[in-house]
Symmetry: C2
Subunit: 268 residues, 2 copies
């Protein structure tokens, strides 16, 4: 999806204290780059790499990051998971398959709420992700406080590494309510929602023309027909511009009829 607004670069404020994303022995540079992109999509920047298989830096990672260079360039390299999480107060471990470990399991949404709460208390937190093929080693999961398990299709639950990173980062961002979703918004651009006077004016214009051409017959059905027609347009939530457009359409159609072929609409 295209859509980065480059004019907003200056407004870009990465939330302080968001979770560190720790990729343990990742195999493919592409996945590291895609993870960096997903992190920045969600306003996170603390990327840590434990012994990436293909070495570091990695051209495939840069290509897949698609501009999230700041995250890649800031990535820190570690020789062990232990070192990568040394400064953290709370660690989550992502797993797809159940582990033979007695450790609390949560979904990504609950994990995100808990991360927000922990950060609110001033804790430093991180999330461990394992290698593409096998996921995290149990030795690494053991170092975490909580397991994050994404509830997916049990017959096909193997998520791509960068997809797993995205889901965790996405839930983190949503849990913050920092960026209010525009849920239910009807953007009207340079227009504005039409006033009721404008809307009803259009209805009356349309109905007078429909009366003139004999469409609203028989008379006993006229009130119900008008209600049904008005309701169609009412549902559209018209803007002032759209009301003008519709009035133009009615005028245009009537003008065409007046100057051309004489057919009643119900003959169409």
């Amino acid at each position: 999806m295209a859509g980065t607004d480059r004019t907003k670069k200056s407004q870009m404020t990465l939330p302080e204290g968001g979770p560190a994303i720790i990729l343990v022995t990742p195999q493919l540079g592409e996945n590291i780059g895609s993870s960096a992109r997903a992190m920045l999509n969600c306003g996170l920047a603390d990327l840590r790499l434990v012994r990436p298989r293909e070495g570091w830096p990695n051209d495939y990672a840069t290509k897949a990051a698609s501009g999230a260079d700041a995250v890649l360039n800031g990535a820190r390299l570690y020789g062990s998971t232990r070192d990568a999480i040394a400064d953290l107060n709370r660690v989550f471990a992502t797993t797809a398959r159940p582990r033979d470990l007695v450790k609390r399991v949560v979904g990504p949404r609950t994990a995100a709420a808990e991360m927000r709460a922990a950060v609110g208390r001033g804790e430093r937190i991180g999330v461990l992700f394992g290698a593409e093929r096998m996921g995290l080693h149990n030795d690494d999961v053991t170092l975490a406080d909580t397991i994050v398990e994404v509830p997916l299709n049990p017959a096909f639950s193997s998520l791509n590494l960068a997809q797993a990173v995205l889901l965790v980062c996405y839930e983190w961002l949503q849990a913050g309510g920092v960026l209010a979703p525009r849920d239910g918004l009807m953007p009207t651009g340079v227009s504005r929602p039409a006033t009721r006077e404008e809307v009803v004016g259009f209805y009356e214009h349309l109905e007078s023309e429909l009366d003139a051409c004999g469409f609203l017959k028989p008379p006993e059905k006229r009130p119900a027909m008008i209600r049904n027609i008005r309701n169609i347009f009412q549902r559209a939530g018209l803007t002032d511009q759209e009301v003008r457009t519709l009035r133009g359409i009615v005028t245009g159609l009537c003008h065409w009829r007046a100057n051309g072929i004489k057919r009643r609409p119900d003959e169409y």
Copy 2:
């Protein structure tokens, strides 16, 4: 993340009537394959392609699908968006950048709830995704009832195509509550949570040894020390096996002390 349980293949029931995922003029086979994988991760299978740039079928798609071949092989090809959505009753269009269109906008979570409701009423639904570089053309967005906008970092909101597909499919799956997340579960494997008798038996064992070695002094501090020590282990939510392990540790340490160097623990 590794983790598909192949023994569950036979239990795999793709939800009927889930949204069709419609990729309009996708550029890269990899993204088509990754989208198919994300769909199957979330139990969706109806993939539709409008004029894929690199033709179809596509080897890169197969590689990136990582086993989601059933989705790829079932993908249907269309010459236009209009044809691809012809059988649908309700269409959502994903966009990253705001459009100059008067059309209701929702986030993916609200969209998923609305999709579930629509499917519950017997409607057939679909979600349009545009090409990697520019997203959907406004002509295609116009054909949709509702815009889905993912609230992301405004300075870097360009999601990879397959990442966008994943988020929509993930929210669809979560909205269904089909797969209860194991939120808050503490799996204990073949063990079981220890009984209070077992736990307190361990505490008393430990405390008797601590009394013997002179650790619980001075006497007026003993009750608080015991509370603090008990509380450490209480928080761990021990299993029966773990209680046995801890008792073995205490016995082992005491035995070592009894047979070896005579130091009091507070001298360490």
